[in-house]
Symmetry: C2
Subunit: 197 residues, 2 copies
């Protein structure tokens, strides 16, 4: 097994262990139990649970960048909705995992390693949405008075809120999804009046 294969196996085991145990009670043994490795072998690769989880967040970030690059669409409007949908659906499908991630988020204020890594996800999503919005304003799909950076941050705030509410209160994201779509149509689209007529 190459170093890369070993690292990937540990990352997959970490994913499963977080889904089963959550973050607060997670031990290196729980992760070892989900892999073919011993706890000692894990410690050979990572000094501590914290190191391993930081590496895990880096691994997730790389996957996230790949997936957000895949969003297709005929124009900026479709790409924007496609990206929003990809984020909402993925979070919805992985409930146990998103719950563990919220626990890690809640530790971020006390932990610079977690905070910096989680901020990268948000920054990347804001940057992707900003690029789509800029292209859409340029092409006349979106209104020329839209501030792409502000609108992108607002959409990410809604996605963060929807995710927090779903995980902590079991509130379905359906209403957020519909309201975001409505916001895009009535607030961002250049031909909003034609659509609503």
């Amino acid at each position: 097994m190459s170093d890369g294969d070993a690292a990937t196996e540990i990352m997959c085991a970490t994913y499963r262990a977080l889904c089963s145990h959550g973050y607060a009670d997670l031990t290196m043994q729980d992760i070892a139990d989900e892999s073919s490795k011993s706890k000692a072998a894990l410690h050979y690769h990572y000094d501590s649970k914290h190191d391993l989880l930081c590496a895990f967040l880096d691994y997730l970030y790389d996957r996230f960048v790949e997936r957000t690059a895949d969003v297709a669409g005929e124009d900026a409007h479709e790409r924007l909705l496609g990206l929003v949908e990809a984020v909402l659906t993925e979070r919805e499908d992985r409930e146990a995992f998103e719950t563990a991630i919220l626990e890690i988020r809640a530790q971020a204020p006390y932990d610079a390693g977690f905070r910096d890594r989680l901020t990268r996800f948000e920054d990347h999503l804001v940057a992707e949405l900003t690029a789509i919005l800029e292209a859409g304003v340029e092409a006349g799909t979106f209104r020329e008075d839209v501030d792409p950076g502000d609108a992108a941050s607002f959409v990410v705030t809604v996605l963060t809120g929807a995710s927090t509410q779903r995980v902590t209160a079991g509130r379905p994201v359906e209403c957020s999804r519909r309201m975001l779509r409505e916001y895009v149509e009535s607030h961002l689209l250049a031909d909003a009046e034609a659509l609503s007529a």
Copy 2:
């Protein structure tokens, strides 16, 4: 000291202890250290840290209901912005405390006592905003095609997202505040076109 005074003193001590220690590491001793009571005296009132924290969430809820009832304004538009501002400002001013509350939120999926209590805050805020929006639609301040329940849920989702992002990534709420205000003006207000003209 009456039972009520004793309870209030313990609630204030719990607030200070959460600000200093966060939730994950909090002990009954930490709370006792912030009050005039011994740890044994705390255990006389509350069986466990969990019981005490549930009582604390109930105490916070009662304060929250009082404060949201105080929001003034000449019309529904002013009352809506006033309530949004009250929630944003309060959360901004109590950073250490909101950080501890996010930790408790992150435990909610595993803990029905926390989850039910936190859901009450959200439900109350949605209900207050819905009532303001209904009154505003009725009075012609807001557009007649606004769905008060949907719009209220959307605003609460934005507030939740802004709070999570501020606590976990240190992201200022300024952009969310401005975008929410813009959303209200362009999306909810009946005379949006007059305003933007």
